[in-house]
Symmetry: C2
Subunit: 455 residues, 2 copies
Amino acid sequence: MADVYDVIVIGAGPTGENVAQRAVRGGLTAAIIESELAGGECSYWACMPSKALLRPVAAVSEANHVKGTAGARLEVPGVFDRRDEFAHHWKDDKQVEWLKNAGVDFFRGAGRISGERAVKVADTELRARQAVVVAVGTRAVVPSALAGAKPWTSREATSAHEVPDSLAIIGGGVVGCEMAAAWSALGARVTLLPRGRLLDRLPRFAGDLVAKGLADSGVDVRIGVGVTGATRNGSVTLTLDDGTTLEAAEILAATGRAPRTDDIGLESVGLTPGSWLEVDDTMRVTAVEGGWLYASGDVNHLALLTHMGKYQGRICGDAIAARAKGNEPEVRDRSSKTCIPQVIFTLPEVSAVGLTKEQAEAAGHTVRVVEYEIGDVAGAALFADGYTGHAQMIVDEDTKTILGMTLAGPGVGEMIHAATIAVAGQVPLDSLWHAVPSYPTMSELWLRLLETYGL
Amino acid sequence: MADVYDVIVIGAGPTGENVAQRAVRGGLTAAIIESELAGGECSYWACMPSKALLRPVAAVSEANHVKGTAGARLEVPGVFDRRDEFAHHWKDDKQVEWLKNAGVDFFRGAGRISGERAVKVADTELRARQAVVVAVGTRAVVPSALAGAKPWTSREATSAHEVPDSLAIIGGGVVGCEMAAAWSALGARVTLLPRGRLLDRLPRFAGDLVAKGLADSGVDVRIGVGVTGATRNGSVTLTLDDGTTLEAAEILAATGRAPRTDDIGLESVGLTPGSWLEVDDTMRVTAVEGGWLYASGDVNHLALLTHMGKYQGRICGDAIAARAKGNEPEVRDRSSKTCIPQVIFTLPEVSAVGLTKEQAEAAGHTVRVVEYEIGDVAGAALFADGYTGHAQMIVDEDTKTILGMTLAGPGVGEMIHAATIAVAGQVPLDSLWHAVPSYPTMSELWLRLLETYGL
């Protein structure tokens, strides 16, 4: 006899947890299956440990950039202790308890779809009255040229307990840049090897400012240098495509993510193992008949970010609950394509939301780009001596609303939510003009951007 | 022969500068008159020097509240140097130059209205074709019980170059709280004597958290203790209304502000010297016939904050320029009564915008209050170990929009502009739900507030 639930969620990361919680809130029963730790990648090997490592680095840097302070320094063992606490020492007791309290049944093991509305976890068969939700996330892709040298992935980079003498990082995306900042500050000699410019999905100035910040803190940033081979013999020797070699005590492959869908039984319902799962705006997998299969979070490839996974999870759980009552869901995904916010916790920080100029033009918008040096805002000068930062605002000239914003500079992480509200709320520039920023905060940037626009 | 300008502005603080700049941008000629330093109170004896003092204090405190850092401390001479630089060593050459470049004629001296559209500054007579704008701001009020002991006001508290052994601060508003935080950190033994609770225009929790923060940093906060007399004999002896006395090396009167309108010739146009000047939503003084007299900034008593003065200055300058062309101004003040943001740079910080529950109810709104402990947000826990803070959101239940928000906690200063946009833009909660906050920032507070509301 199979255990029957309204909803079966495969993957107990933040996304799956949100799906289950919202389904239960909607009156349904839910089971959740996790092959590793409840809480998922984000809690143990991504957001939480990386930001726990990076926050002391930022706090020290910020103090040391204000005249009138002295002596701030990192204490590496304390940084690791702090990180270990935020990663709950890689134990998920609390998270399992939270699921229990949320009314969600927890199954530990590898969940595999075994047919329509059917999932097996070890010897247990589960059946879903309403829906099965795939929320298994992604794993790091290790290029074949590196695999033999057993590189760190984001997992080791966020959980290691010793500082390597030297670290070569392959890849200039978010993981590469953040981990370069962290491990350099912790004392490793870091070489960053991005294939192209840093943070290449964002406007160029963001990656340029991060490259400068990393270089200033001692990272050897070698833009455009590729890696053709790696051999480990104690340390690792990388063969580079500029004809040189590079020795490093450790290497980190930060070269992208792949969906963890290769062994979850997709073939039993006619889908391709290892593929991303395309969804509609309620997270329902479009390629499966009957509307019972959903995919939420990284695995649908819309936006590989914890907060977007959680957002989709809320939509997904609510949609399943609505459909269980015979209603079509009222709230659908509005943000996963056009209003994705992101904060990159480098020095300087980068934050962005919405469309870039190129994306906006490709979508047919008539665009005006407004630029401003954040250091010219009084609040920024107060925040850090010699503040360097840049802001770019993308305006839709037809609707006079903001389509996107990118900020790079110290302390810009908490500033992006204002832009996220402006984008999501489609607040006209004429109304933003009456949203007066407090003097002297960095948020006065908003006034300067609107003045630069001509208001 | 009088010099003739389209607009004559009395007072070259940030407000007056904005009036003149916008008038010139609108095609008018403008003169500005300043009896002290161009740049005004804010630049030399308020926002800038106070925040220059407080930023190092915050940076050190923030570093010392993150495990994995060590050693951060203040260097008092460096703090003073920094403050002096931000106050431009109390010289206004740069600001005068800025006015010149902005096309505004600068007159140094006391400006006095001498009749309709007429202003005298020393022996020079100026006449205005369009408008005279009073932007003279406020000064500190010193209670008679303290006057004989020559207390510091906000001016000395922001510009002093020596740390008194002990400092008694009378008044628990923004100036009192911020200066208690600053001078305590700089090494003075500070006693804070607020008549009522701290920051009493804000929800109670804000002042309570600031009181705790001040007490934790060594300030003796004596809520509800009044001062009945003060005598100086080297140090100052305060007589308190609880029957005790208090010795302090210095005392600071932080007991309110009065308009600097006592000697600007108001009597020549039938107004009362020393009074606040009531204005309409274009900053036109309502009590004067002919519509030629405007009052912008502190002096109209709408919102005694630099950024609100600047906002009013923009509206005022634009309105004068529009009327000069025979048009009624399109953009009118929408924010000075219902959408005033404020950041208080204490430890913890406080930030607020819009209406409190009491104000919203008094204005006839059906209100729901949503509360959340900011320390329960992952981003806040990452920001500071043991983060303590509180958020309150005021929702209009009829329109389902946000009327106000108050935040208290470390680092909340840059977070309030998101709420300011939500309030000014009247963004419905249903849209805010799609403004996804980045994980793990403190801005995830928005998600928690909306969840707590029930979305």
